[in-house]
Structure formats: structure tokens, C-alpha cells
Symmetry: none
DNA sequence: AATGAATGAGCGTTCATTCAT
DNA sequence: CATGAATGAACGCTCATTCAT
């Protein structure tokens, strides 16, 4: 499996660093190769093309969210609490890796539509976990029966995303994780029964 | 004034069509010129460079939102109602111009950081109106005194934006304006007293 | 006659100023028109094309040399003295008009070959006067009978030209006219009997 | 070292041919690449930009003069004889390579001021050798003690240059090297004691 | 005669990808 | 597996010239 070879991860990590430091449009394949300490051509032994590197960056890192989410959903706590932990998890992961935050919130969004559609597909996993939490809350009476799941999901995701992007654009100058409580309360009020 | 000359608007409109139909990265100046029915060089009599066209697209169309908002804010109605009308206005404008919606929600976000920062500056106007409504509601007791204005603004804007983007990505296959009520209710629950 | 109309000279003078101040490659027709206080299109009522402006600049200003030379050659003095006056005249004209000096010694030489061939044709007049002086000196025994007229002419002209160009490139920081005596002596030694 | 790779010289030689045959302003990078038998992009593996090709052409070929001059100056002969050999060397090198002669005498002079200043810097080496010969001759009594070195240098260089340019403009129709004796005699008379 | 808006051909340079070694 | 030299398609912008008014 290619993904298990050391150079695969080396290139992924190099890509994040290069993109965060140079911006999407100044992240040439040759720069990523140099940062990874491999030849340009070597990149193509592990990735189909440049787009494939970027998708893989997203895929790999998305697992960090998903793995944690998996655990959270299975815990024996209220849906509201799961929502809290999910937001917190999201903020913690990005707050602990500014490079990754810049890349996902700003740089990767400059990619072409095709790439973004693929990224959205990956995001689906994330949104499915979110849906699960919402449905659970509706079912057990914590959340309002009448809410539109899709809209609620868009509100939750849109708010988290907008909050994170604002934080990145303000150059991380306040503590993102500290906002968890407020964001949770705001969203909860919107959806609770 | 250049902006009043017919070719200025002609080029702006051509840019929206070309970008919506070809995608940001496939919208060459020559394509825009052709669509506008002018020579390539003519573009540069009205715009400093390609980026300037895109910023102007955003500026011009943002006025459509702003002008309406101005009226809404001044009406003698509740803050909650103003919020409703603001969401509705946002949805109506974009629902009535699919090309524009595609451009603002998908294509323009692929532009480089410099352009996006300029776009954000333009968006500021929009967010200021939103802040005004939120503050009014807090002041007159409609909205919760304890909410964080910035977070509330991010929730409202994030939700509207995410909802619109989803609608565009689903190829306009449902009625966006019809969602106004639900979105409003959801958001209102989050912020009301 | 177009050359007698005021705008003709206006444009010529504007061209010299613009070229001297902006360099050959930054002297667009529109800039010359602006400096001359006329519309771009007006230029083409007086000149066939851009090249024609530049040739005319050279033609007009060359007359300043030629007119003086004419007088010098007809004076009743030795050929050696005529040579002195010719060099002096050359230096005086250029030393009194730095703009013109920059244009003829540096900027106009960046023009294409076609233009330079035409300029050379104009220069012919100048070289014919020079030849006349040389022939007179050879005939009356002042200059060496055995010298090759063409070579002698190239030496005289090459030396004057190289001296002037050096002076321009050194930004006029020494007195060009003061060099007349030395240059004359040097050249005279080379050709005298 | 890039300069030692075969493609480097290949491109330099192609540039000389293309410029000589098409003129400075009609020598597009793509044309040079085609003549060199490489892809356009390959040019940029060896040269920073187009201007860099031209400077390198001059640099490389100037070495042909300089190398020979070095030998000449060190020979155990009179300064006058060194001057003769220097002129002869200049004429021989250019007479044996018409393309190079056209490029240095006509085409490269159409370049912009920045490039010409760089070319002048390279020429400095050449003029330093010339100065050395002049100083030697003055010191050992061969040349006139009272001559101004700078003027003498300008006369020698101006004459050689003007002679060569005339020969090129007359399409090489007479033998340049044959002129060595006459030119040398003329110049020597001007500077000898 | 004079204007100046409009034209459109033309080109240096970058960079993702390939492939011989 | 790994290399890195070579490729060549693609595009924003300038500016001399025209021509309707």
C-alpha cells in the first residue's frame, strides 16, 4: 500500500507546510518535492497528479476529525453534549495546527471546482456524523422535532466554518477553543426542543 | 465617469456569464471580451487588469444587496422581521440570477488571497448592516442580551452562505426563497431573548 | 507645407523631451501627443507613423549642424581651422541641449535597423561636408596626400561620436566644449601632412 | 557549471544566428529555441530571461577578443606593434564571423539602455587592455607624453568601431582585415611622440 | 482640421508532467 | 525505485494605428 510508505506521508506533510507558507498559487510541485526532500518525478510515483496531492492532504487530515468523531458519537452522553464535543474537537485540531488551519480554511478553497467537489465528498463523512447526532437529539426529544435536518446541518457546519475562517483571517490572535462554549450555546438554542 | 459608460456594465455582465459557464480558471480575458462584444484591448480602457474586473463584478452586484438592506433597516418593523427580510432579500437576489449565484458562491472563491481580501472588505458593508439589526434587537429586548455579536453575526452569515452554496451545488434544484422561513426560525431561535 | 505648421514643430519638440525623459522604449505615441498638447490622432495628420516622427526629429535637428557647417566651410580659413570649428560646432550644439544629446547618442540608437539606416542617410550630408574639408586639406597640402579619405572620415566621425557618447554616459559631468582643442589636435596629428 | 553544458553554447550560437538573420526586434525566444533545437522552456533552464541570453552572447564572444589581447599585451614587442595586433585581432575575429559582426555592430545596439550599460561594463575589460598599451607607449617614449589617455582611447576605439560598422553596413563587400595597416598608421600618427 | 475611443496582433515566461537513465 | 532535465501549451497586457464624429 502506497499510503504506508514513508515518502507518502513525507510528501503530504511537505505539501501542508509549503501551501501554508507560500499560498496555494505559489505551491509548485517542485517546491513540495524540495520540501519533502525528494525529486520532482518521485511525487508522481505516489500521486497521480498535483490535484491528487491536495485531495490526499484533505483525506488524510480529515481522518483526524473522523476518528475522534467516531469515538464521540459512541459515548454514552446526551446529543447536546456530543455536539459540544464535536465543536470542541474541530477547534482543538485546527488550533493545534495553524498550518493545517490556513490550508483548509483559506488556501485549499482557491483550488478549482473539481477539486472542491472532491473535497466536499470527503466532507460528507463528517456531515454524516453530524446528521447522526442531530437525528439522535431529535429522536430522544433533546432537539426540536420540526427542524429541517439539512438546514440545521448547514447552520451548524456554516457557523463552525465561518468562526474558524474568521479566526484564521484574524491571524489566530484569539483563542479558538475558548469559543466552544459560546458557539455551542448559540447553536443549541437554535435547534433544541 | 467610467462606470456609467455602457461598455463598463457590458463587460461586467459578460464576466459573470463567462465565469459562471466556464469556471474561474477558464475565464480568460479574451473570452470575456468576446462575450462582451468588444476587443481585448477595450477591457483595459475600463479596468486596470483582470483582477479589477472581478473585484468590480463583486462591487457592482453587492450594491444590489446593500441598497435593499438600507431600505429594510429603516423600515418601522421588529428586528426579527428585519432579519427575515434580509435573508429573504439575499435569497431572492441570488435565486433570480443563477449565474451570479454560481460566481459568488463557487467561482470567485477560487481567486487568490489578495482578491478574496478585497472581496471581504466589500462584504464588510453587508456585515455592518447585519450588526445593526442584531444590536437593535438586543437593545429592544427581542434578542438575547448575552449573545456575542461577532459569533451571532458569524452564525447568521455562515448559515445563509452555507445554505446558498448548498443550493448552488445541488444545481438550484429546489426553491431557495422558500427556505427563508425555516432559516429565519432556526437562526431566530438561536439569538432571541 | 506641413513642416511650417506650428503643430509640426510642437510634436517634434515634444518627442525630444519625451524620449530624453522616458527613454526610447517608454516613449509611446500617446505620451508624445500629450506632451505636445494634441490628440493621439492628430499626430497622424503630420507624420506617417511613429518611425516618421523619429526620423523627422533627426532631420530637423541635423539641419542645425548642417547650416552651421555650410558657413564654416565657406569661410576663408585653413582646412585645419575648419575642422576645429566643425568639432567645436558639434560639441556646442549638443552641450547646449542635453535632451537632444541624450536622444541622438543613446535613445535613437535603440531604434530598429530600418530607422537607423534612414538616420545614416541623413548623416550623409554631414559626412559630405567633412569629406569636403578633408579633400581641401589634402589638396592644399595641409593634410597627408596618402590618407584614405573614407578611413580618415571614419576616424574623425568615430572619435567625435565616441567622445560625445562618453560625455552623455558620464551624465554631462565635464565640459564637452572644452575638449575641442584636444580632440582637434589628436585628429589633426593623424591626418596632417 | 551551466556554461559548460552543450545546450548553453547551442543556445548562444542559435541566438547569434537568429538575431543576425532576423534583427533584434524579430528575434523571439521561440525562434531562438527552434534554431537551437530545444523547447522554449529549456532556454530558461540556462538563462534567467531573454536579456540574459543577449548579455551572455556578448560576454562569451567578448572573451574571444580578451583572450587574444591578453597574449598580445604580454608579447615582447613595441606598443605600436601591440596596437597593430590589437586592431588586426579585432578585424580578424569579426571578419571571420559575419553573423557575430552584424549582431555586435548593428543589432545589439538596438537593445534597451539597461542592456547596453551591461554590455559597456563588459567592454570595460577591453578598454583596460587598450589603456595598458597606450600607457606603455607613453612611458617608453613611443607615444606623445601630452595626450589625454581617455581621448586617445576614445579615438582608437571610436575609429575601430566606426570602421567595422561601416564595413558591416556595406555588407562586408570589401576586406576588413586589409584595412588594418591603414587604420593603424592613421591612429598611430595621432598618438605617436 | 482635430479628436480620442476602439481595435487586435503579438510575446516572454511558468510549471505540471514525462521519461531516459 | 528514484532522478531531474526537458518539454510545450497557455495567457494577460501593451500600444501603434484607425475612423466615426
Amino acid at each position: 500500500m502506497k499510503k504506508d510508505k514513508p515518502k507518502y506521508k513525507q510528501i503530504i506533510d511537505a505539501a501542508i507546510i509549503v501551501i501554508a507558507e507560500n499560498g496555494y498559487h505559489q505551491s509548485q510541485v517542485s517546491k513540495i518535492a524540495k520540501q519533502a526532500g525528494v525529486a520532482d518525478g518521485t511525487i508522481y510515483l505516489y500521486f497521480k497528479n498535483k490535484e491528487d496531492i491536495l485531495i490526499s492532504v484533505f483525506e488524510e487530515k480529515m481522518e483526524m476529525f473522523a476518528d475522534n468523531l467516531n469515538g464521540i458519537v459512541k459515548e454514552d452522553i446526551t446529543a447536546s453534549m456530543k455536539l459540544f464535543k464535536m465543536i470542541e474537537n474541530h477547534f482543538i485540531v485546527l488550533a493545534s495546527n495553524h498550518h493545517l488551519a490556513t490550508v483548509t480554511q483559506l488556501e485549499l478553497r482557491q483550488s478549482n471546482l473539481a477539486l472542491r467537489l472532491k473535497i466536499n465528498a470527503i466532507l460528507k463523512t463528517y456531515l454524516i456524523w453530524l446528521d447522526a447526532i442531530l437525528k439522535e437529539g431529535i429522536k430522544n426529544g433533546e432537539f426540536d422535532q420540526s427542524i429541517d435536518i439539512r438546514l440545521a446541518r448547514q447552520m451548524v457546519f456554516g457557523t463552525i466554518d465561518e468562526t474558524t475562517t474568521s479566526w484564521v483571517m484574524n491571524e489566530y490572535k484569539y483563542d479558538l477553543v475558548e469559543l466552544t462554549g459560546k458557539v455551542h450555546r448559540l447553536l443549541l438554542k437554535g435547534i433544541k426542543a
